[in-house]
């Protein structure tokens, strides 16, 4: 594996990589929607935020996550503050899990993640439907929830490699 010198710029950029990827993903929406697979979509930022919050990564600044939420709302066209609220709630739940868990277990984290994203998507749907009168297809939310849940495991392995590179 490539070793990074802790004093150079590459290392500093590397330590901020999760936040950079988060910003790129909210600006660009890496969700492969253009493949035109019916109903296929997943929420990459939710996986990223949950993973790094559970790990308690120091460079994962909540304020920056909050701003990422504002940008996401702007790009998607949702009311301002809704994604920020979702991201903050994920951080809270992840932080709670971190404080409560002595020995982390991937499968337990995974199902806890399912509970969290289901709750957050429900809140999102309710707020948009009740307060902002948006017409939304609940099927999209359910499928999005499912794919986000399924993509957690492969992305989890990828992020583990990221941590390994830092520790080395």
């Amino acid at each position: 594996m490539i070793k990074l010198n802790k004093s150079n710029y590459f290392y500093k950029i590397y330590t901020w990589l999760p936040i950079i990827i988060l910003y790129l993903s909210v600006l660009n929406e890496y969700d492969l929607n253009y493949l035109n697979i019916e109903y296929f979509s997943f929420n990459f930022p939710l996986i990223l935020i949950f993973y790094f919050s559970v790990k308690g990564y120091l460079n994962f600044d909540y304020l920056l996550v909050f701003f990422a939420g504002l940008i996401n709302d702007t790009v998607i066209g949702f009311p301002l503050g809704l994604s920020s609220l979702s991201y903050m709630l994920i951080c809270i739940f992840a932080s709670y899990l971190r404080n409560m868990t002595i020995r982390p277990h991937l499968i337990k984290d995974w199902f806890y993640f399912l509970f969290v994203i289901s709750l957050i998507n429900s809140i999102n749907f309710s707020v948009l439907f009740i307060f902002f009168s948006y017409d939304l297809d609940i099927m999209f939310y359910i499928i999005n929830n499912l794919f986000t849940f399924l993509f957690y495991i492969p992305l989890n392995f990828m992020f583990n490699y990221y941590f390994k590179a830092i520790d080395d």
């Binding site: 790129l24 253009y34 304020l63 503050g81 809704l82 409560m100 307060f131």
Partner: protein, 402 residues
């Protein structure tokens, strides 16, 4: 039990309030700020509106640049897909071209008629102009179908401005910033478009299905059964949200719904047209009015000239067809006379043939029965050559045959 409850409370408190060494705000603060922003944006608070416009301006531009690599991959993917379907597309296009050529003349006439009718309903009384806008963000969110264009209030774009791809309607502006705007596509679940479906002139409202087409949400007088496959949906102009007479899409009927297949492919939009209203200054009002009137007159004359040309063309074609049909008619008449003559000759021949056959039959029977019908000194009969003699011969022959 008590210690597990304490752990739970400590964990909750820690999750909400504890700041790590690098965190500047606690999560609870940020959650509260988010909720305040949501409430204020629901109330359309001025500060939030300006904040949103500011963020929009920065984010839309950034998104455009950040999306360059993904767009490159996306476009490459579409190019490969297009190349693979090239031959099939070519065959389809040739068939379509043949069909379109045949429809072209009638379309020209309809077009001029349409322009004339639009003038009659004074749809062109407002001076309107279409400006070209570039699509800077077209990410297909799974929840909302919108695009961002690079024109805003600086280019006279307003909320509700109609957006076109060529001459087809694609949506309307729902959010406007100084140099960018968000367009709600017709395929979005929140989009409602009043349309007329032709043939039948059925008034309906179509809404997006959240993917790439629309479906009929409501029809006036529940005329759903009258809607036919391949009917065409135009905007009706009801409610003044969209201008009337803009083509929207074609009808396709499934078991569950009546769908509208939009003419434009919303996944491939790169440039669109926004219809903006031009302001006319009051100091040169009369002059402008005069110019506008002259322009309108010119347009009318041009239209009439075009219509006249089309009518002349059709007329010439009709005259040609007429003379051709006349010559055909003459030829057919001549043929009829010839055939009638032939029939007469045939009839005469048949008649002659019948007579000859009768004569032959008489001669044959005469050989057999002449002795029985002939008048002699000792026998009552008929004189040879008389009609009675002939009848007698036939009668005898008939009796024998029976």
């Amino acid at each position: 039990m008590a210690s597990s409850r304490d752990d739970f409370i400590i964990a909750i408190r820690s999750a909400f309030l504890k700041k790590s060494t690098k965190q500047k705000f606690s999560l609870l603060t940020l959650v509260l700020v988010s909720i305040v922003i949501i409430i204020l944006s629901n109330l359309d608070f001025k500060v939030i509106r300006y904040l949103k416009i500011g963020i929009n301006e920065i984010v839309y531009r950034s998104t455009f640049f950040v999306s360059v690599p993904e767009n490159f991959i996306k476009n490459s993917y579409f190019s490969v897909q297009q190349y693979s379907n090239f031959y099939e597309d070519y065959k389809k296009k040739i068939a379509e071209l043949k069909k379109l050529k045949s429809e072209n003349i009638s379309n020209e006439i309809l077009k001029s008629e349409n322009i004339e009718l639009k003038e009659l309903i004074e749809d062109y009384t407002l001076t309107k102009n279409k400006i070209l806008a570039k699509v800077i963000v077209d990410h297909k969110s799974p929840f909302l179908r919108t695009i961002i264009i690079n024109k805003g209030t600086a280019d006279r774009i307003k909320i509700g401005t109609n957006i076109f791809d060529k001459s087809y309607l694609v949506g309307r502006v729902i959010e406007v910033n100084y140099k960018s705007s968000r367009v709600l596509l017709l395929s979005d679940l929140n989009s409602n478009v009043p349309v007329s479906i032709i043939p039948g002139n059925i008034q309906a409202i179509i809404t997006g299905d959240g993917v790439n087409s629309g479906k009929i949400k409501y029809t006036k007088d529940n005329l759903n059964e009258s809607i036919k496959k391949q009917s065409i949906a135009y905007t009706s102009g009801t409610g003044s949200i969209f201008k009337s007479g803009i083509p929207v899409g074609k009808v396709s009927i499934t078991e569950k719904d009546i769908l509208i297949n939009f003419y434009s492919d919303y996944t491939q939009l790169k440039y669109v047209f926004a219809e903006v209203e031009l302001e006319i200054k009051s100091d040169t009002d009369d002059q402008v009015k005069l110019t506008t009137q002259t322009n309108t007159e010119k347009i009318k004359i041009n239209l009439l000239n075009e219509e006249l040309d089309i009518l002349n063309d059709s007329n010439v074609k009709l005259i040609e067809k007429n003379s051709y049909l006349n010559s055909e008619k003459n030829l057919l008449n001549q043929k009829i006379i010839d055939l009638q003559n032939q029939i007469l000759i045939q009839e005469n021949k048949v008649k002659q043939n019948n007579i000859n056959q009768e004569e032959l039959e008489f001669l044959r029977l005469n050989l057999l029965y002449s002795s029985k019908c002939q008048k002699s000194t000792f026998k009552k009969g008929y004189r040879v050559g008389t009609k009675e003699y002939k009848d007698c011969i036939f009668r005898r022959g008939k009796n024998i045959n029976d």
